[in-house]
């Protein structure tokens, strides 16, 4: 490393925020306080309050001091400097690390500030190079004074300025989406609601156990079943839990998405800012964008909602959920999602994700129906078998659940078939699939780095084929599922001219069935 330890010329080394000690101490104080209360409760029950305090308080203080010391140590060992070519970072609590990231390799600079950091006027800066998919390509600086963090981001992303930016009339079109409180209606329709409802149920029992009251809770709930018919009480219980889950989902949504804005900055970088308590600021250099995905989860779709995810290479990865850092627009009305998708892609006309799609052959519907019914009947077969062997109650459960599940399975299968479609819209390959999570992806054709064509023996019989466009962005490949064999191959051939052509045989005049690039 030839450039290390050269500080004579170039800017001086900068350090983290002096308040790292406070931040570290607060981080450990919060969980330590929780643990202290629980342990203290048990000790106080077992002996006296004095003994409990004598045990718990010193441990609490030690934990907080250790947290503060780690923050202080982080402050002591970490320094960073941006010179003309590189971002230099010296850090590491256990292993001393010296990093020098080439500035043109830096693809994303994300700022997060949780409530603790916000009170202290600081933020966490996460710099992603997109070199590796894992955490290796990401450098985290914590905590950085808010003003320095903003300046650092501006400096590091300055190179992203497009060379043709001056000629581009759209270069500075600013706001792409602004937060609208009415979007909140889509929030409880997420699959998070039942998940959190279940978590609330489990969590209540767990907390009760910590305080030795689990049995009392179970008995109380059990006694409710005496008040009314069991089915009614069960239903009320489920509805109650779902409402708790819904409120929790709403709270999470508000915390994540409050004051969401999506901007295109003058240099072409897409910039997402959001969050009520923890504020997040995510930048995505436009040259990393390979397309967009309009995602309609089942609940949101029934209410006419959709969200927009970026299909991009080298997004910074860290503790934060990957899906969320890819999301450009939270679930919002479908028309808005389509418009934002078009704006993000700088498509002046109709959004590619709303382009009319070529449907897939009915054989694909047959496959979906067989999968759906097969899954339901498989489960029912187990119930019937157990019922025949053990108790007839299971037989009743089997036919009752069959009455409900078979129509649901058929509806989902038909809906999944309706979702299928593909086309080429200008510079984009567009593919749609899914029923529980319907996703329409518009992938830049120049972002396709290869093809994987799959066909099982059953697909071969039905004349279907799954064509996957491999790409550096997102999960690595986007699939066109169960297309007619000739359609799918013609699509791949037309999307990247010349790549698949040498390996195709058959009707050469078949090309017109896929729209040629505009």
């Amino acid at each position: 490393m030839s450039t290390s330890d050269v500080s004579a010329d170039g800017p001086a080394w900068e350090r983290l925020d002096r308040k790292a000690f406070l931040a570290g101490a607060t981080y450990t104080a919060i969980p330590a306080a929780g643990a202290a209360v629980i342990t203290g409760y048990w000790l106080a029950v077992g002996s006296s309050l004095g003994t409990a305090l004598a045990w718990v308080l010193p441990a609490f203080v030690v934990a907080v001091v250790a947290g503060g010391a780690s923050g202080e140590w982080m402050w002591r060992v970490t320094r960073y400097r941006v010179d003309a070519e590189r971002l230099h970072v010296h850090t590491g609590v256990v292993f001393r690390k010296r990093l020098a990231l080439r500035r043109e390799r830096i693809r994303s600079v994300d700022l997060t500030a949780d409530p603790v950091l916000r009170v202290l006027g600081t933020a966490t800066v996460r710099v992603g190079t997109g070199e590796h998919a894992g955490a290796e390509g990401t450098v985290t600086l914590w905590p950085v004074p808010r003003a320095s963090a903003d300046a650092l981001r501006a400096t590091l992303l300055a190179h992203a300025a497009r060379p043709d930016g001056v000629d581009d009339p759209d270069a500075d079109d600013g706001a792409l989406a602004r937060f609208d409180r009415r979007w909140i209606r889509f929030a409880p329709l997420s699959f998070l609601t039942p998940t959190l409802a279940a978590a609330a149920g489990g969590g209540t029992l767990q907390v009760a156990e910590w305080f030795g009251m689990q049995e009392r809770v179970i008995n109380t709930v059990g006694s409710w079943f005496g008040l009314a018919p069991a089915l009614l009480v069960g239903l009320a219980l489920v509805v109650g839990l779902l409402m708790v889950g819904g409120v929790a989902t709403l709270a999470l949504w508000v915390e994540s998405w409050w004051n969401h804005t999506l901007d295109r900055q003058a240099d072409g970088t897409l910039h997402v800012r959001r969050g009520l308590l923890t504020t997040r600021s995510i930048s995505l250099e436009e040259s990393r964008l390979r397309g967009v995905e309009v995602v309609e989860p089942l609940g949101a779709r029934l209410a006419g909602g959709a969200r927009v995810d970026a299909v991009a290479t080298g997004l910074a990865t860290g503790e934060e959920d990957k899906t969320e850092s890819r999301t450009l627009l939270p679930t919002a009305p479908k028309e808005l999602a389509d418009r934002v998708a078009a704006d993000v892609l700088r498509e002046p006309g109709a959004p590619p994700t709303a382009a009319p799609l070529t449907p897939h052959p009915p054989a694909a519907r047959g496959r979906r129906l067989r999968w759906a019914l097969g899954t339901v009947l498989g489960g029912e077969a187990v119930l019937v078998l157990l019922g025949a062997l053990l108790t007839p109650v299971l037989l009743h459960a089997a036919w009752i659940s069959m009455l409900v599940l078979v129509p649901v399975a058929v509806l989902l299968a038909l809906d999944a078939y309706r979702a299928l479609g593909h086309t080429i819209a200008g510079a984009y390959l567009v593919a749609r699939s899914g029923t529980v999570r319907r996703a329409t992806v518009a992938l830049q054709r120049r972002g396709i780095v290869g093809w994987t064509v799959r066909q099982s023996l059953l697909q071969r019989r039905a004349g279907l084929v799954t064509v996957m466009a491999t790409t550096a962005a997102g999960p690595g490949a986007y699939a066109v599922r169960d297309a007619a064999e000739a359609d799918g191959l013609a699509l791949a051939d037309a999307a990247v001219p010349g790549l698949l052509r040498p390996f195709l045989v058959g009707a050469h005049d078949d090309q017109e069935r896929v729209a040629q690039p505009r």
Binding site: G450, W451, T452, R460, T470, P475, E485, F503, V505
Partner: protein, 195 residues
């Protein structure tokens, strides 16, 4: 391109030799002939791959069979219940070791042109993979202990996609090394950012 301008042509010429190499007869393709379909790649894998795959399957089946057999010898009362599954597994393993590699040999094919690497694998789940030379990031050959005994190698070509790697198993070791060298040259001759 500048300095490299003479590069791609020469490499292309070298790669083109893979086009005209020993062309084995195309395999039987019993699918109904649709209007447009992918043709089988030109080259079959090395015939020694059949032995290699067989040995892998034999070893795979041998582990549970040996464990069950030893247990059967040691635990006299349960002998029947241990020997019976061992026998069934051994029979299935033997059948697989005889039939599957021959089936795979007919279906695993590969081809390298001066534009792309093209492979076909699998029988029940057939899979064709195409990676353009211009998007290749790494080329490497791997030889496991069994492969070394059979004089075989596996060539792996990766692109920027996490799911785009193209793997050619059961190549003659020398062919694989030559191919890797040529592909590496061709890849260096393409200066663009392969993402």
């Amino acid at each position: 391109m500048g300095v490299l301008s003479h590069g791609p042509k020469r490499v292309a010429a070298r790669l083109a030799t893979w086009d005209h190499g020993a062309v084995t007869a195309p395999t039987i393709d019993d699918s109904p002939s649709p209007p447009l379909r992918l043709r089988p790649p030109r080259h079959a894998v090395d015939p020694r791959a059949v032995g290699w795959w067989s040995l892998q399957l034999v070893l795979l089946a041998a582990v549970p069979v040996v464990i069950l057999g030893v247990l059967g010898l040691l635990i006299a009362p349960a002998r029947l219940w241990l020997f019976a599954p061992a026998g069934i597994l051994a029979a299935l393993g033997a059948l697989a070791a005889v039939a599957l590699p021959r089936l795979w040999f007919r279906h695993h094919r590969w081809e390298v042109t001066d534009e792309a690497v093209y492979t076909r694998t699998g029988w029940f789940f057939q899979e064709w993979r195409v990676a353009p030379l211009s998007r290749i990031q790494t080329v490497d050959t791997v030889r496991g202990p069994l492969e070394q005994r059979f004089g075989l190698a596996t060539l792996t070509v990766t692109t920027a996609s996490a799911k785009g790697a193209v793997k050619i198993e059961g190549l003659d070791a020398e062919t694989a090394a030559d191919l890797a060298a040529d592909l590496t040259l061709a890849t260096q001759a393409t200066p663009e950012d392969a993402t």
